[in-house]
């Protein structure tokens, strides 16, 4: 079947999609957007988190056909998404979204396989809740497994991004 939807602001079309394919597979293998990661295919790790019409979801559990006509934001589009949210001005000299820069600065990236999903989830949480408590951060990220860091640096990164956001940095 054919599926049309918008990814990171651009219309995309995928052809010859097998009906059992997930949105994750289509993004990774058909649209050349492998940033969203495939780690469990059962909604138990969050590595494939994307925003579907603004809402963070596990793209491994969205049938490709369900994405028809909808808007998807992946880690590849996160910087642009953050830029538009901020009114078009790049938040960081690096061109990265604030949460991406914070992950780098805080040492929250090791192997990096969980990183794309965590970034999408954390960015969305800070959009909803700009001044999260530690427990809020932990709750919002409880669907994203990380095996390398022990999460401490991820906590640091989200706190850092929240602090920079509130200072308008």
């Amino acid at each position: 079947m054919r599926v049309n939807f918008t990814v990171n602001g651009r219309p995309q079309e995928a052809d010859d999609v097998w009906e059992g394919e997930s949105l994750l597979y289509v993004l990774r293998e058909r649209l050349g957007l492998p940033g969203s990661k495939n780690a469990c295919e059962q909604g138990e790790c969050g590595s494939c988190t994307v925003r579907l019409d603004g809402v963070p979801v596990c793209s491994c559990l969205v049938a490709a056909g369900q994405a028809e006509g909808r808007e998807v934001v992946t880690v590849e589009g996160l910087a642009e998404y953050a830029r538009e949210r901020a009114g078009g001005t790049p938040a960081q000299d690096s061109g990265l979204a604030p949460i991406q820069q914070a992950f780098l600065d805080a040492g929250a990236v090791q192997c990096g396989f969980c990183t794309p999903g965590l970034l999408v989830a954390a960015d969305e949480m800070l959009e909803r809740n700009p001044t999260p408590s530690d427990a809020d951060i932990r709750e919002a990220l409880s669907g994203n497994l990380c095996r390398c860091t022990g999460y401490e640096k991820i906590m640091d990164a989200v706190r850092l991004a929240a602090a920079r956001q509130s200072e308008g940095v």
Partner: protein, 295 residues
């Protein structure tokens, strides 16, 4: 495999009538896992995301008509007052990402004893609105679960909504898992106080082939509260009453040993959860009563 995309509820019913083997998919939490892991290759996959009314709810006089696909996140955010037990249960479902997609219709459709919504629905009192081109049936939730991962749906029927009684008193939900988040229930317990009828209702998850109520425990507690004049006095529930209630809830379980827990643990844990949720709900009831008295 064919992918059906009904644009309306009527189209969905017609498609299900034409293709009774079609597997409905909304949040994808169960269906996509089965496809990804090659456990299931349905002939037809029917997307219900385009049927907008499934994601809507209406708050009525007596009940909330909750669309089958209303995501758990929305239940937590918007229906905490009307459906406190279900809102608590919704909060324990899997992960934030899953709660953003999954709804009660999926739990009912899969009818796994471990579905988190079931104990809350049983305790609150609910009817499942199932529809086919032949018409609409209202099935009491107690009668909906017919076996392990089996339910009362006919092949051509779809779940339209659940009609859940609005809370008339405190409700609680607690679930045991071996992790502090994103975990499938080892067992779960829902409790609702219904001061209007001076009854209590329970729901037990993951401790029997289907979700069940602990009816003997309910009857015992109803009688004990009535006889002791607890509803009027608002006094603390006697420890011996709470203990007996917990024992009867344990006895209502018919669990198995599996990789998530032993039968013995499940029975034990249901007893603890029954006692604790009774304490919490009763404490809320007493507090509300006392405040009411002052006012």
């Amino acid at each position: 495999m064919d992918f059906l995309r009904p644009a309306s509820w009527e189209e969905a019913l017609a498609a299900k009538a034409e293709h009774p083997t079609a597997v409905p998919i909304a949040g994808g939490t169960d269906v996509m896992v089965e496809i990804n892991f090659d456990h299931r290759r349905p002939e037809y996959l029917m997307d219900l995301n385009r049927v907008g009314e499934l994601a809507e709810w209406e708050v009525g006089e007596e009940t909330v008509r909750l669309g089958a696909s209303v995501p758990y996140t929305r239940i937590m955010d918007h229906l905490r007052a009307e459906l406190p037990g279900l809102a608590l249960a919704a909060h324990t479902v899997a992960s934030p990402q899953i709660r953003n997609r999954g709804g009660v219709g999926g739990n009912l459709g899969t009818a796994s004893p471990a579905g988190d919504a079931h104990p809350a629905l049983l305790a609150a009192g609910a009817e499942v609105e199932v529809v086919s081109v032949r018409g609409t049936r209202m099935i009491p939730v107690d009668a909906f679960y017919t076996g392990v991962k089996r339910n009362a749906l006919a092949p051509d029927e779809l779940i339209r909504a659940v009609h859940i009684r609005k809370a008339d008193g405190p409700q609680q939900f607690a679930k045991v898992g071996t992790r502090n988040a994103m975990v499938i229930a080892v067992c779960a317990f829902g409790l609702a106080l219904h001061p209007e009828t001076r009854t209590v209702r329970t729901g037990i998850g993951s401790a029997a082939p289907t979700p069940v109520r602990a009816t003997a425990a309910e009857e015992f507690l109803n009688a004990a509260l009535e006889e002791g004049g607890f509803w009027d006095s608002g006094k603390v529930v006697t420890p011996s009453v709470a203990k007996r209630f917990a024992q009867l809830c344990s006895a209502a379980c018919n669990p198995i040993d599996d990789v998530r827990g032993t039968a013995s643990y499940r029975r034990h844990a249901i007893g603890v959860l029954a006692r604790r949720t009774l304490t919490w709900t009763w404490e809320s009831y007493r507090t509300a009563e006392r405040k009411g008295g002052v006012a």
